[in-house]
């Protein structure tokens, strides 16, 4: 019969239409923004800086080594080192960044800065509702806007954050034990004259 193909197609469409009222597999959309889809663990949009503890600037893990700045493909990270050092989580004095700006209108969410960072200081965030009315200034995020606490990182990437926390706690304990041992050890006897 001429037209059989078209009628067969229409039956499929009708089946989908009627089915979308009672079959979950056929209704595949959500009414955004009233309903939102659950976030996915590994999703990446823009980077953020992790800090430990309560104070953002004192607990920043970033040491301004500038590796992420060099490896970023569109060159959207700008770092200037601070000549004043601050103590890090183990107690040693470390360099900190004075200026750490990311231009998120240029950032292409590739995540290479996260992969090359040797200090677990920069991680990928999952926020995507980033539109602002100011095209230039508001899309340039500086150190204070980028810094987010470690708890936030744990909420986003539970498995990865817990591994990093375990490792850092280990190192902290080892450093404290080494410092305690050094303070408690007896002073070595004064070397007799003629020490090299």
């Amino acid at each position: 019969m001429n037209g059989a193909g078209i009628i067969k197609g229409m039956i499929e469409t009708a089946r989908n239409f009627v089915g979308s009222y009672h079959d979950k597999a056929r209704l595949t959309t959500v009414q955004y923004p009233e309903e939102k889809l659950p976030p996915v663990e590994n999703a990446r949009t823009i980077p953020f800086l992790v800090f430990d503890g309560d104070e953002a600037m004192a607990g920043l893990r970033c040491t301004a080594c500038q590796i992420c700045e060099k490896e970023c493909p569109p060159q959207c990270i700008y770092i200037i080192k601070d000549p004043v050092k601050k103590p890090d989580y183990v107690g040693k004095m470390q360099i900190q960044p004075k200026v750490f700006d990311i231009d998120i209108s240029v950032c292409m969410s590739c995540g290479i800065c996260v992969e090359v960072c040797p200090f677990d200081a920069i991680k990928m965030d999952q926020v995507f509702e980033l539109s602002t009315k100011d095209r230039f200034g508001a899309l340039l995020l500086d150190k204070t806007q980028l810094a987010k606490p470690n708890d936030y990182f744990v909420k986003l990437h539970k498995t990865e954050a817990s591994e990093i926390d375990v490792r850092r706690d280990d190192e902290k304990r080892k450093a404290e034990a080494a410092a305690a041992a050094k303070a408690a050890a007896p002073k070595p006897p004064a070397a007799p004259g003629g020490a090299k």
Partner: protein, 380 residues
């Protein structure tokens, strides 16, 4: 072949008056910013010149300034629908250039992701081809419903739906999260149902058949000489699939057939893509069953500061659109000296004019849809 109109309006100098239409860069059916300068006699196409370059970003020059690692996110944006196959072609060429090996688990993951990419590309193409023919939206949304499920899988593995940036030199970036293989197996088990539904919706449809059978015929000799590859070449009957010829990766271990067409028209190309989706499902089932445990990146591979020895390499894969090749010349430094992409969409456009001559302008739109171009790749 439709004959030109019998009564030709002659202009003042006695030449036939042709209507010159520019199917301009902003057009819903041209698959991106692509322009065709068409000269029409009535409704018949007499001359057709494709014009592109509206999306030219000179990726090849950017790559000479970035390091090898920094170019990987840019390769995602070439053929932006199939980003993982672009990554694989580039990673394979750098591995040839630097002499890196790839562990087995990484090879299996690459094959799985590449076949999933083939599925999303072909379903998007089938949807868009039908939209160009006038079925505004319905088959497209059916195809996109399945595509969304695969993009969700990509997001849970790589972090992004389209710009995946997942392959690295010597393997993959990160390992599969727990439960990913089960989800993929579920998807592969349910996909044939969608293909059957799609075929019952479309393949018997008289409008589709009338508009695609006999339209845009391409002979095998012209196709081979013009460098056409991919489903367009196999629709003419030439059996050349790089997965079977080069057997790169671990493709030699999988049993799958290569569908070939007979007449080389638009209907054959559409059917070849549906059949290729079914063959991809077979490869996926075998790969998901056999994937071994193990490391996913070569321990010798360095992430930063990769400096291959001076030399050159050409690596190619069977992308969903055709042969995607990368040609790299290294001078020993951290950046490539010459970085060239062999874009399948651009080469497949060489014979667009030959296929459209003598047909109506409506057919020209359908033929362009069946060539399957993505402007990110044509212009780079």
């Amino acid at each position: 072949m439709i004959a030109p109109s019998a009564t030709l309006e002659l202009g003042e100098s006695g030449e036939p008056q042709l209507l010159e239409v520019s199917l301009g860069p902003q057009h819903p059916s041209t698959h991106g910013v692509f322009r065709m300068d068409v000269s029409l006699d009535g409704e018949t196409v007499v001359k057709l010149k494709p014009v592109f370059g509206y999306l030219h970003r000179n990726h090849e020059k950017i790559a000479e300034k970035c390091s090898y690692l920094g170019s990987i996110p840019y390769t995602d944006r070439l053929d932006y629908i199939c980003s993982l196959t672009n990554n694989w072609a580039y990673a394979m060429t750098v591995e040839k250039l630097a002499g890196l090996g790839v562990p087995e688990r990484a090879e299996y993951i690459r094959v799985i992701l590449s076949e999933l990419t083939r599925l999303i590309n072909h379903s998007a193409l089938a949807g868009f081809l039908l939209q160009d023919m006038g079925a505004l939206g319905t088959p497209l949304m059916y195809a996109f419903r399945e595509r969304e499920k695969i993009l969700d899988l990509f997001e849970s593995l790589t972090g992004a739906r389209m710009m995946c940036n997942y392959m690295r030199f010597g393997g993959c970036r990160c390992d599969l999260p727990p439960g990913w293989i089960e989800q993929t197996k579920n998807l592969v088990a349910n996909f044939p149902k969608f293909l059957d539904e799609f075929e019952s919706l479309l393949t018997g449809n008289e409008i589709l058949r009338a508009r695609t059978e006999g339209v845009g015929v391409l002979t095998p000799q012209l196709a081979v000489n013009a460098g056409v590859t991919g489903p367009m070449l196999r629709a003419t009957g030439v059996n050349y699939d790089i997965r079977k010829v080069d057997q790169y990766g671990v493709y030699g271990r999988f049993k799958f057939r290569v569908p070939l067409g007979e007449r080389g028209d638009v209907f054959d190309r559409y059917m070849i893509r549906i059949l290729e989706m079914r063959e991809s499902l077979k490869i996926l089932e075998q790969a998901l069953r056999d994937i071994p445990a193990g490391p996913i990146i070569d321990p010798k591979a360095k992430l930063r500061n990769l400096r291959p020895k001076a030399g050159e390499a050409y690596g190619r894969i069977e992308g969903p659109k055709g042969e995607l090749g990368f040609y790299l010349i290294s001078d020993g430094g951290p950046n490539p000296y010459r970085y060239r992409i062999r874009p399948p969409s651009l080469i497949n456009l060489t014979i667009l004019e030959d296929m459209c001559l003598g047909r109506t302008i409506a057919d020209a739109v359908v033929i362009l849809g069946s060539v399957d171009i993505v402007l990110g790749e044509v212009d780079r």
